[in-house]
Subunit: 215 residues, 4 copies
């Protein structure tokens, strides 16, 4: 299982969460990445944790003021990037362009989408993985694996039909049970956010979370 | 073959083009539709020509000032809608939403995309058809069937792999030879624009165009 | 006072509301306009009511599939256009471009904005009028004139400082008292929506509404 | 005069340009800032040069994946931010929101715009400064001060009418003469990009540029 902790624009200390994630990854052998704001990528990466961008733009070097260039994210230390998160939905052509930008600089990629049909579309664009997050469940305490298990199994089926694309799931994941349930439904990982980023003790929260899947 | 004449925001007389298209469709048995501005749908539909919207928004009835509601397009006389034209690129979730809106009111749908990978993604969203239009060729005199025949055959292959989705092609189509070439490459139709909409004699232009495929 | 009834994408009969508005305008001498979906402009205009577009794009004739061209709106019968409604917020440059498009075809214009500072900015772009609608009050039953009278008086002051630009107000307006209150605060008109468009009897609703300001 | 060097998404070494700018600022007493990609803010700021963000989003802390939070830019070392650059045009409400976000964290602000009318609108939103850059001249070798001096003087006049807002100008600035000309037209600074960022020797390029206005 791959656990991605999305820090969004939360008022958390990104370095503290990154250090906690690095420690728990070391202790448990579980792959854990942290996705901070672009401006925080370098100091998060310096902790040694696997670092992901939250977004890169579908642009190459050039006149693109205010964009997030894949090259800049990679040079700051990112190893992967989310694309098309429900809070940063992209045009179809720009998901394609963003994926090609990620490939160009060796960033791994996860394209988010809302439902199995969009997951199939996202998978057709040849990312490394896709993540299904039903918008109605984001930020609720109810895990997708419990509220709507079919959206996960249908997404896995849809991605398998298109090609060899891993499926993660997100929305409402906050306990080790949720992680196990996601794995049983066929997910290869989970997207987390507030459950860890806003926790009083991020390290304890992460440890509890990954404990059931630790080696 | 299905011929869609996109009037864009051209300074043409939409009714004159619609009447020409209706006549040529009657004479030749070729299916021809005209896609005008939303505000022109009703008077184009009154000519009896098959009328398509250029776009509908991914919204339902409600507080959506300035949107193009599928219901309004259908009630004005539209029988289908383009979505995600390269001049009106949409977010993945909004192509999905626009298709569901079209289904809701019985509009047929064509989703445009730039390349075979995006065509596969578009096809996964379950439209009635997809249309591949390489942006670099739009508005040039060079037909896609000649400049880049593989983009058409690869798109047909990509759409077939996903499901039963027809492929149209566009960009640079202006002669009957272009139409025949498109058909030979596996396209089920073409998107036209300036070649007809800006012609001095739209009826003659259309007649020349569809002559090779007339019954 | 100028009363603009915005039909948004409501499931109302635009022609019925238009006829009601035309009748009440005739009976009372109050200026009343109806703003339908672009696809409904022509049949609304045929009722004789003053008809407004909900939006026009910042484009000229050309390759702009899916846009709403000012020329098409005007030819269908629109006499004015809203711009930058809170449900269709525009980029600064596109409000400017939309206003120039409206001028080009003789459409009157109202630019919406959220607060007095944005009203000053909107007024600087030289529309015919601006409309202040605090987003938090839209769709509530609480009229802006009562919930936040200062936002109206401050907007009037801000628009006066920039030039000779009328100020309308919107959000929560549903009774004749609300209209009178708006006028007393310096507004030259109001934007209405659900109060009329969703009323069981639009004509009675409008008549009650404009009665206090009728000649 | 204030000289802002916008690195856009150019394939330059941001640290090398930053060091050059810091040195030339020290040598000449001219205020020079460098605006890198968000992911490069911290290492640019570490050179000691005045560092600006190219953009911040109109958001507060919260669920805004893929945004550029003003707090993150400031914590990484930014002292100011551009907003509404012609390559990152924003909605009117988001310029307002971006300015309030900048104020919240103590970032200085420059709002870009295309023409004197938009400059008046931008100035009404109460930024620290505005910058006029006619889109047609960006990236050309022709300085705005020479190609269209009235756009500068009219912008200064428009900003003065609104309040106490400095005006910078951009587009085509590449020599010391251009800077002097801009100052004579009433500009308080200039936006530069390729002339410095793409120069073989950024330090020499900057030194030549600011020499006429050095103390």
């Amino acid at each position: 299982m791959f656990v991605v902790v999305n820090l969004k624009a939360y008022p958390c200390d990104p370095v503290a969460v990154a250090e906690a994630a690095a420690d728990v990854a070391d202790e448990t052998g579980v792959r854990i990445a942290v996705a901070p704001q672009a401006a925080d990528i370098s100091r998060v990466a310096e902790t040694g944790v696997e670092t992901w961008a939250q977004h890169v733009d579908a642009v190459d070097h050039g006149s693109h003021t205010g964009s997030t260039l894949a090259e800049a994210a990679a040079e700051a230390g990112a190893e992967g990037t989310l694309l098309n998160h429900s809070e940063k939905r992209l045009r179809l052509a720009d998901i394609d362009g963003g994926l090609r930008a990620a490939e160009r600089v060796g960033l791994e990629s996860i394209v988010c989408a809302n439902n199995p049909r969009q997951i199939a579309a996202a998978a057709a664009l040849e990312p490394d993985a896709v993540a299904v997050e039903p918008p109605a469940l984001i930020g609720t305490g109810t895990p997708v694996s419990q509220a709507d298990p079919e959206v996960v199994t249908d997404s896995v089926e849809a991605a398998d039909a298109v090609g060899d694309v891993d499926v993660l799931c997100g929305a409402g994941i906050s306990t080790g049970d949720d992680l196990e349930a996601a794995a049983e439904l066929g997910a290869e990982g989970v997207l987390l956010a507030s459950g860890v980023a806003k926790a009083d003790a991020p390290k304890a929260a992460l440890r509890d979370l990954v404990e059931p899947i630790a080696e």
